[in-house]
């Protein structure tokens, strides 16, 4: 807290000095960048990064804090960092959800109700970027950090200090986003298309770009860390073909983070240069190229949806065999599918640009590549259905959530095909059909997977059990509300409802009101969730080490696992999903 206040003061001081000494047109934008850099560095140093760096240089073991304050410090334990990620994701999720409810309130009726167009754009952009952050860190950041070292049988991540840095880059970025409405708001959506993002003197837009870059660096660091951890820290006997599928999914995610995020970070730094130094990468008035930004942005931002969804596939395929009491069907093929998605994911980006004015013939290969990605995605469904075939299904809460992912993602995947198909995309592009589609994949797939992971691993993380009935009620409410909300949006999209607009023709009123009501059902399900956590932490029954009778390594540690995870380094001999009776 002290660090945060000092950093804020330092940042504002630098910003004020900057805008006094620097001459317009360099002034305000440059002052904002310098002020933010000063604030970020002093914040990281004061929150404990300085001490960690000094300890690293001296070769000393980091001191251990054991009370609750460790969750607010630069702690190096992967379980603390995983929890920090989880809580941060939940806070950002609540914020993004409130932004969504504000939008739904505005969209309950045609015309403008209580927001101006400016305010609507800002709210919509903040909803978009905060939910993107949630989807990026919700499963990979929190459960990846908490569970993967345990599944590997490791004491911690390969680079604990880098891990803490990945997390502590997030709070400044989130605060920066929260500040944007007070510095002129945002008019460009989370994609920040140039030249809209390089034009206009709004400091809010500058802060948004800086926040995006910061999240990008956090993501790159965590990608490095997961790759190194999986490569070097696996327990004795844990060969790649015995690696739990969730860890596989996180490794694949980390590879995308490494390759893709650097590109978007670079392109946003170019946007910063365009704004501050008046370079002309993307400004057509000065000879810049508008389509270049879109190519660079989507080169990351399409693979980014796999950063969100692959951990979800991992969770799904991790949970299914445990509750089907059967080995994961086609495990090697499922691993190949995850790798296939990583590779194909990098050659499909221009399907976001079918109407952008790029060379017409380029649409052909990108259309075919994009449709090919349904083959590895289909394998995930094969593994799912094959695992359920002749299983003995236990309908515990994580399984109920996992089944909801299957039903949602099936719709999400199928509605992706008309968007991959260039002719139909000419009509559907940037309509609510797209909005409904990506909510089915990102919310119905990735966010539902985060809830699945939560219900599956919460007993391990806290040592307490959640209430099963509440968990299933929440799942039911959210599943119903979500589907009732987004199915009509497909239809509105094909009938002329554009993305990112605050108003619509009057004939849409009844459907829009229905959607707004259903968004309240989803909100209610989140309240049930919050109560369930509160109840479990206050007086949940003890979970025991292995409440689901699972076979992966994390269940061999105590609940919650102690510092260093395992008393003796574990050895692995059998396959992680060796359930069932031979026939």
């Amino acid at each position: 807290m002290k660090g945060f206040i000092v950093a804020l003061v330092v940042g504002l001081a630098v910003m004020a000095a900057g805008s006094y000494f620097l001459v317009e047109p360099l002034g305000a934008q440059a002052a904002a960048v310098l002020g933010y850099l000063a604030a970020l560095l002093s914040f990281l140093a004061l929150v404990g990064g300085g001490k960690a760096l000094r300890g690293y240089a001296d070769g000393a073991e980091p001191p251990e804090a054991h009370d609750w304050t460790r969750y607010f410090s630069f702690d190096l334990d992967h379980k603390v960092i995983g929890t920090q990620y989880g809580v941060a994701a939940l806070i950002v999720f609540l914020f993004g959800g409130i932004m969504a409810l504000i939008m739904r309130l505005e969209l309950a009726h045609h015309g403008l109700q209580f927001l101006t167009l400016q305010q609507y754009n800002t709210v919509m952009t903040l909803h978009g970027i905060s939910m993107v952050v949630v989807a990026l860190i919700g499963t990979a950041g929190s459960f990846g950090n908490f569970v993967v070292p345990l599944q590997l049988g490791a004491r911690d991540m390969a680079f604990p200090r880098l891990n803490a840095l990945s997390f502590w880059l997030l709070p400044p970025a989130v605060l920066l986003l929260l500040a944007t409405p007070f510095f002129g708001g945002l008019d460009f959506g989370w994609a920040a298309y140039a030249p809209l993002s390089v034009q206009g003197a709004s400091i809010g837009k500058m802060l948004f770009i800086l926040a995006f870059i910061t999240v990008g660096f956090s993501s790159i660091f965590s990608g490095v860390n997961f790759c190194a951890t999986a490569l070097t820290m696996r327990a004795k006997g844990l060969t790649w073909m015995k690696l739990p599928i969730f860890s596989w999914a996180i490794v694949c995610t980390a590879v995308i983070q490494l390759i893709g995020t650097s590109v978007v970070a670079a392109s946003l730094i170019m946007v910063t240069f365009d704004r501050v130094l008046h370079t002309s990468f993307f400004n057509p008035a000065l000879g810049g190229n508008v389509l270049l930004y879109q190519h660079l942005f989507w080169y990351y931002s399409h693979p980014a949806v796999y950063i969100m969804v692959l951990p979800g596939f991992g969770v799904l395929l991790e949970v299914l065999p445990t509750f089907a009491r059967k080995p994961l069907f086609a495990y090697p093929l499922a691993v190949a599918a995850l790798i296939g998605i990583v590779i194909l994911g990098f050659v499909v980006w221009a399907h976001h640009m079918f109407t952008s004015g790029m060379w017409a013939l380029l649409k052909m290969p990108f259309m075919i590549n994009t449709e090919l990605i349904s083959v590895p995605t289909g394998v995930v469904f094969l593994a799912t259905l094959g695992t359920l075939w002749r299983a003995k299904i236990r309908l515990d809460s994580p399984m109920v959530w996992a089944l909801a992912i299957v039903a949602n993602f099936l719709v999400g995947g199928l509605t992706g095909i008309p968007l991959a198909d260039a002719p139909t995309d000419f009509h559907l592009h940037d309509t609510w059909f797209v909005v409904a589609h990506f909510h089915y994949t990102i919310m119905g797939g990735a966010i539902f997977a985060t809830f699945t992971a939560f219900h599956y691993w919460f007993p391990k993380m806290s040592g307490k059990r959640l209430n099963e009935t509440l968990a299933k009620v929440q799942c039911g409410l959210m599943f119903f509300g979500f589907n009732a909300l987004f199915i009509p949006m497909f239809w509105l999209g094909t009938h002329g409802m554009r993305r990112r607009v605050a108003d619509f023709p009057a004939w849409m009123d009844p459907i829009q009101l229905w959607i707004s009501c259903m968004s309240l059902v989803v909100a209610a399900s989140v309240l049930v969730f919050a109560y369930n956590i509160y109840r479990a932490l206050k007086d949940g029954e003890p979970a025991g080490d292995n409440p689901w009778e699972a076979k992966t390594l994390e269940w061999k540690a105590a609940s919650p696992p102690p510092h260093g995870n395992f008393r003796t380094p574990p050895t692995v001999t059998e396959h992680p999903y060796d359930y069932g009776v031979a026939v």
Binding site: G288, V379, I393, D421, H427
Partner: protein, 236 residues
């Protein structure tokens, strides 16, 4: 093979799901009025996809439901069947090959319609559409007329040449299906052949700033005589 009842179950339940979706698509048509030649190409591709996707959805959901009904653990200690991996090999290979074939044929259908949409650049009427925050302007270079409204002649091929003065905008008339971004710094063309007379709305479909919501324009498709009458004035 045990559990042979899966076949009739999937046939009946899957059939019901598919029939229900088909009914829903007829009661609530999936597309608005079809008012251009290009819309026929788009809707052709769309209807093909709709049939394939409805079938896949019905198959997967009915199979999933069958598993949920038939393979529940009555007691917690019950365990599922552990097969020898070789028994699943055939299913794995077949699944991958079938999905690959299906995907490639969908891509071929899409490529076919795409070619129809982009291969022929010839046009009877050229209209320049100038986009800017937050309005549209129309210019007919052959007659050197400016318009505040886009007049089009039914049955004629129009080349819409899109340019932008500031940021990226996008030209979309839902009834015509096809859309195209207007990119600052370059001119991009779109071929449109309207087939139904009437008044439609042009909507900007690319977030272009505060006023994006209100960036709409009017388009009117007329028979030949009305078109000539409406575009008679020096500017209109």
């Amino acid at each position: 093979m045990k559990n042979k009842s899966v076949f009739p179950f999937v046939a009946v339940v899957g059939g019901l799901i598919a029939f229900g979706m088909y009914k829903a698509f007829t009661v609530f048509p999936t597309m608005p009025l079809q008012a251009s030649v290009q819309a026929e190409s788009v809707d052709g591709a769309w209807n093909g996809l709709l049939i394939v996707e409805t079938s896949i959805y019905a198959l997967v959901m009915s199979f999933l439901l069958y598993c949920l009904v038939m393979f529940r653990a009555a007691k917690r200690e019950e365990q599922g069947d552990k097969f020898d991996r070789s028994r699943g090999r055939f299913v794995e290979v077949a699944w991958v090959l079938v999905s690959l074939a299906l995907t490639l044929s969908l891509a071929a259908l899409g490529a076919h319609e795409l070619r129809a949409l982009i291969s022929d650049p010839s046009a009877d009427i050229v209209v320049e559409v100038h986009a800017q925050q937050f309005s549209w302007e129309f210019y007919y270079p052959e007659t050197k007329q400016y318009g505040t409204k886009l007049f089009m002649e039914k049955g004629k091929r129009h080349r819409i040449v899109l340019t932008s003065k500031d940021v990226v905008h996008s030209f979309w008339v839902p009834e015509f299906r096809v859309k195209q971004d207007a990119v600052p710094g370059k001119a991009v063309s779109l071929i449109l052949t309207p087939t139904v007379t009437g008044k439609y709305t042009i909507m900007c479909n690319q977030l272009c700033g505060w006023g994006h919501t209100d960036m709409q324009g009017a388009v009117e498709v007329d028979e030949h005589d009305d078109f000539v009458n409406n575009t008679k004035a020096s500017d209109f």
